[in-house]
């Protein structure tokens, strides 16, 4: 009987597959990425390497010495003091303590200060709190500390915001009105992001991390790109990290464009050059995990997409590798064996500049 190797499903469940089945899944996942993104396949050697990584007998694997990369972070300290909703572990601690723990206990290469209501819009009323926290953290820390939040353009629609919900307008076949609502919301979002980051830079922040760009579709990306562009003009030396929400830019508007390129329907390798053009220093591509497929399928797919993004990007790529992205299973306590293998694969096969 053929040897079976332990791996996971996309939802984290443990399964056992033969080498041949694992390789078949890697190839299937790869083929899906190639088909969707119209990007090159991985080579036979690369697929073999992924197979080797998956079937390594140890619980944790590691990159070869010399291949280590910087690891950047999102969600701030919420993973420590936050609740289950953010996979937080509920340790009551100040954000200074949380940041310093990341720097000094976890070995983080960079860190992010974030707000408990982790979107840009809710930061405005509490900006003074964010500013003073940034000042205190910068006085005590050595690693780069960015200010991070999600653009989350959905907060600008009713009932949370002033503009009519485009989803409701679309369902009523009011297409142009829906598009106008998105355009107005995008302008407001850009304005708010710039306003907030001007104050954070005045407080000594190293820069900004945009988390989950595009969560509200192409308008969300449009607003973020314009914010990046504006910030870059004002702050030539600012660190700007731009991480995506999903692998595909959802075309909710369908016609919003940046630099002559329609944003709807873009895949990671197409997103990268635009993010660089806007003025970001770091791009965080995303590939979504399919919970009904094996880890091998998801990893083959994710590595294929990310490798293409790394190649197309003029700036460093720090692949998004959290719960349910980057090949990692969708589970609030992601299995260490899967996370470790996905991490190594992204560095050694996809060639990322960081995680």
């Amino acid at each position: 009987m053929a040897t079976e190797h332990m791996l996971r499903m996309g939802d984290g469940k443990r399964i056992f597959l033969t080498k041949e089945k694992i390789l078949a899944d890697l190839k299937d996942g790869m083929a899906d990425a190639v088909d969707l993104g119209e990007i090159p396949e991985l080579s036979g050697d690369e697929l073999d390497k992924l197979l080797d990584i998956i079937i390594m007998p140890a619980r944790m694997v590691g990159v070869e010495p010399g291949m280590e990369v910087p690891v950047t972070h999102d969600i701030g300290t919420i993973r420590l003091d936050g609740d289950q909703g953010n996979s937080g572990v509920g340790i009551p601690s100040s954000r200074l303590v949380g940041c310093m723990m990341h720097e000094r206990a976890f070995g983080a290469d960079t860190m992010e200060l974030g707000h408990i209501d982790y979107s840009f819009k809710p930061v405005k009323p509490v900006i003074a709190q964010e500013m003073q926290t940034m000042e205190v953290c910068q006085q005590n820390m050595v690693i780069p500390l960015l200010y991070g939040a999600m653009p989350n353009m959905g907060l600008y629609y009713t009932p949370d915001g002033p503009f009519e919900n485009p989803g409701d307008l679309m369902k009523a076949f009011k297409i142009r009105e829906a598009q106008e609502s998105m355009e107005h919301a995008a302008k407001h979002l850009t304005r708010d992001i710039v306003w907030i980051m001007q104050r954070m830079m005045a407080s000594g922040a190293d820069g900004v991390n945009f988390d989950t760009i595009g969560a509200a579709g192409d308008g969300d990306l449009y607003a973020s790109l314009h914010a990046i562009e504006s910030l870059r003009k004002q702050y030539p030396d600012m660190y700007i990290e731009a991480g995506m929400a999903g692998e595909l830019v959802l075309g909710l508007h369908g016609e919003m464009a940046y630099n002559g390129t329609v944003l709807a329907g873009l895949w990671p390798h197409q997103q990268a050059p635009l993010v660089a053009k806007a003025g970001a220093n770091l791009f965080g591509p995303v590939v979504n995990t399919n919970t009904s497929r094996s880890f091998a399928w998801n990893l083959g797919r994710a590595v294929t997409f990310i490798k293409a993004a790394v190649k197309a990007s003029p700036i460093p790529c720090h692949v998004n590798m959290g719960m349910g992205v980057g090949g990692i299973p969708m589970l609030e306590t992601p299995p260490i064996d899967a996370v470790s293998r996905a991490s190594k694969a992204m560095v050694e096969v996809a060639g990322v500049d960081g995680i």
Binding site: P65, E68, H73, A108, D206, D353
Partner: protein, 105 residues
């Protein structure tokens, strides 16, 4: 534990334990790809790129250069003092250090 720590243990440069923060600064401040960032930092530190993640090499070097050490050494530059030394080492400006200087009367 399942996410940041696992990534750092698997693939990370481990921050101020070694030279990860310095390489990250070059990626972020100058949009350097990881290879170029490592070469730049290694040259500035006078070490090889392999040494950048080597605790044996980096622990004493960081203390000598005053760029922040992972264990809390009394009297060693911390926070903005350490970052001002990083500015000189890497030949770049760090925002909080600029703000600090602007506040000195």
């Amino acid at each position: 534990m399942g996410m940041p720590i696992t990534h750092i243990m698997t693939s990370g440069m481990s921050g101020i334990r070694a030279a990860g923060d310095l390489v990250a600064r070059m990626e972020m401040s100058k949009s350097m790809r990881v290879g170029d960032a490592k070469n730049y930092v290694a040259k500035k530190l006078g070490v090889s790129t392999l040494d950048l993640s080597d605790e044996y090499v980096m622990r004493d070097l960081r203390e000598e250069l005053g760029i922040g050490v992972i264990t809390s050494v009394a009297g060693a530059p911390k926070g903005i003092a350490a970052k001002m030394n990083i500015e000189k080492l890497l030949d770049l400006k760090i925002n909080c250090c600029e703000k600090f200087r602007q506040k000195i009367r």
